[in-house]
Symmetry: C2
């Protein structure tokens, strides 16, 4: 995510302007491979388009917003930026924006980026419970123009286990926790060290399927109509 | 699962009798592709070996066992059968057995197998909460002999959403719910229709990573030592 050129990864045999079925193109406004994998496993192979939203500028412009408001605002900014930028290429589309952060003891935590910060995080997280917040916004594009945005937020409690010092060393040395919000995954190596969640597990991976289903329904779309398999 | 020939799917360049690292071979005593995928995503690429345990005979021999006892007994039977059958091929191994069932309003539910039964299940499940029980047993094989079995159970509450009639038709027509315990997934198409869980999400997919980590620790093994990546 963040600043970068657009990434288009839909299969080359699909026309970018005419969805084969007459249904809207599903656009994922996120470079996260985990989000894309969740959607693909759940029957939707999205176009991936990433726009250069300045997340820090959006967040600092929010003043004293609640954590829920922050992730919804960031998801909305990303979805609307991608919808605006690519409206000519995908004139009939739904654009899904996402933002995830871990809320732990008053702090809102994104990616740790460095081994040192990942270790600090895990030292604070181990044996405790955090709240993984995932904001989603879905922009409906019809006839080459935005026809509205709906948004929502999903909070899932995450009960962290307690890795031994050797396990934590091994986990950090893989690099996985550095690049993910909250310094953990549940669908990768981090899954060994998460004792449980209370909420939607797909939201912890990065895209809440039940919330996305409800937002699509708000636009009058049944998610099953968007399935590309089988 | 059930009766069938053994399936060996480890990479051909790995000697079946000498783990390259001096560490035990990890054997998954289950044909479930979802369980194998969870382990692979979590850093372990197991040998898959399936033995012909008569699950109905094991279950009916248990008398009035609790649901927890049933899934632990079935997981133990599967792991011990595979360990006994393949002890010569994998003289230094950990053999992981698994069994999953959905406990809903007093009934213990496995795979529905037919569209009619899947529809009955979902009609009963929609909007309700069930308990997905996952039993695991880990047999340690050392020097070509069993060195003991440890076992445990993990119960995760699953809050089912309410698919529309058209969504339920579409879901059942995919065939996915017919072949899985409880007639749903959270890591596939079913994820749209599960509003949340309370417990370990990997146990719902079929193999609980934190429980498996604890059972391996009971055998004196750190899961991170068994990681094959990175």
């Amino acid at each position: 995510m963040g600043v970068g050129a657009a990434v288009v990864t839909r299969a080359a045999d699909t026309s970018p302007t005419e969805p084969p079925s007459g249904l809207p193109t599903v656009v994922l406004a996120s470079a996260s491979p985990a989000r894309r994998a969740v959607l693909q496993a759940a029957g939707i192979d999205p176009v991936v388009l990433v726009s250069g939203v300045d997340e820090d500028a959006v967040a600092s412009g929010l003043g004293d917003a609640t954590p829920h408001e922050v992730v919804v605002a960031l998801a909305t900014a990303k979805a609307q930026a991608v919808a605006a930028e690519f409206v000519d290429h995908y004139p009939d589309a739904v654009v899904i924006g996402c933002d995830s952060m871990l809320h732990l003891e008053g702090a809102l935590l994104g990616k740790p980026h460095t081994p040192e910060e990942a270790r600090r995080r895990w030292t604070a997280m181990a044996g405790r419970t955090g709240d993984l917040l995932t904001g989603h916004a879905v922009v409906r594009v019809i006839d080459g123009a935005s026809a509205g945005t709906v948004a929502g937020v999903c909070g899932t409690a995450v009960r962290f286990g307690t890795p031994t010092p050797a396990e934590l060393d091994a986990y950090i040395s893989t690099g996985e926790p550095l690049a993910v919000a909250g310094a953990f995954t549940i669908d990768g190596l981090g899954g060994w060290f998460v004792d449980g969640v209370d909420g939607d597990p797909s939201s912890v991976v990065g895209i809440s399927l039940p919330l996305t289903r409800r937002l699509l329904a708000d636009h009058g779309l049944a998610v099953t109509d968007l399935w590309t398999r089988p």
